[in-house]
Amino acid sequence: MPYEVQTAVFEGPFDLLLHLIMREQVDLYEVSLSTIVDAYLAELDRMQAAEGQLDLDVATEFLLIAATLIELKARRLLPGRDDLELDEEFSLWEERDLLVARLLQCKTFKDAARVLAHLGDEAGRSFPRLAGPEEHFLAVTPDLLAGVTPAQLKAAFLKAVAPKPVPKVDIRHLHMVKANVSDAVAELIDELPRIGRISFRRLTESLVERLEVVVRFLALLELFKQGLVDLEQALAFGDIDVVWLGYERAEADLAMAGIDAYDG
């Protein structure tokens, strides 16, 4: 089947899948899942070529979807397998429905985003008045620095010198910012003093991606190395308990100031 992999850069696995399905919408029967899987692998190749190396974080997401697709495809190629457990069958349908649901969600927000962008463009044609009061009102204006702290001033400075976004008109680009250990350390220093003691499992419950869990774990090891936390594991393969050793936030920040920032 003649098929050209898009040169467009895809935002993620759903984006790519959505693109493929939408594009073939008129002739779905002609599209085999293997074509879609091929497109996935091609996209991974492209990413690897573009980045010089494969980003595991992104690649995993792509592979997960590709694997699901292959499983669906395999199911189609082997019809009427009597030995297929009912549970297995259900879970396959579930996978498919989940995928469809996520695709629908993806499509919904894509369309919503387009309308919001349009609203923004329209609103952008009106400019607000920002001049403020005339100078003779300055005399009655209360002191503007009242309540302003040096810390706020510092924050304002950092905001002012933060890199500005490069103006661009609707160019899709892949965001592959990696989870970062020093960020995770900062989060933990923020959270742990309040919690005191918590199991690693609960600490990472809210994280969606495995890489984030790994990065949190590395961050904990850093904290352990600096003597800020204790790690306890009562049983082999049992839950790991994280215990904050009671340092003040500022002391912790100081202790961690020197650690190397490396990507997870």
């Binding site: 935002e11 008129v26 779905l28 923004g120 400019f127 609960r202």
Partner: protein, 211 residues
Amino acid sequence: MVTVNERTEMHRALEAILLVADEPVTPNLLAQLLEIPAVRVEELCTELADSYEVAGHGFVLARVGGGYRFQTAPDLAPYVERFVLEGQSARLSAAAMETLAIVAYKQPLSRAQVAAIRGVNVDGVMRTLQQRGYIEEVARDPGPGQAVLFGTTRQFLEKLGLDSLDDLPSLGDFVPGADMVEAMEMGLRLTVDDEPATAPEAGGDDAPPSA
């Protein structure tokens, strides 16, 4: 609209206050300053806005971000842009816009929840949106992780020319229709009842869906 004779002290006071304001002023604050009910403020502002429109001024009185403000008439953008050199803030990328849409409709939610919906890491995009003042931390998840929850800012409303989040187009309008759902399900169909397992080409029975 207000004719010259009907222009009251209150109309004039509103015009003066809004002229020196540098962000939308809420009806409540205006009511407090003028010592009249907020409902009356809204009436007066509507009258002013209508009168400007009828008179065809180069400025309009707009209701955005929960308040009133003077802004330029959209059709004069070419002149104003010439003057305001730094002009337009950079447009958001499609990726940033989609992320922003998710936050707008699903707020409050965590970075991880946005990432789960997008299927990609969103840290970079979220940071950009935060830096540019479209989103902000609004709460913390009460759960163990205490994840930061994000929501949109008033500036977001101003940038989109909306008065409040209620003015966002209904998300329901964007949910794909039944034909799209069917198309997707067909694209990912599991059963092969109506398709010969070995033939790559579709037979006559397998006419494409009417999507």
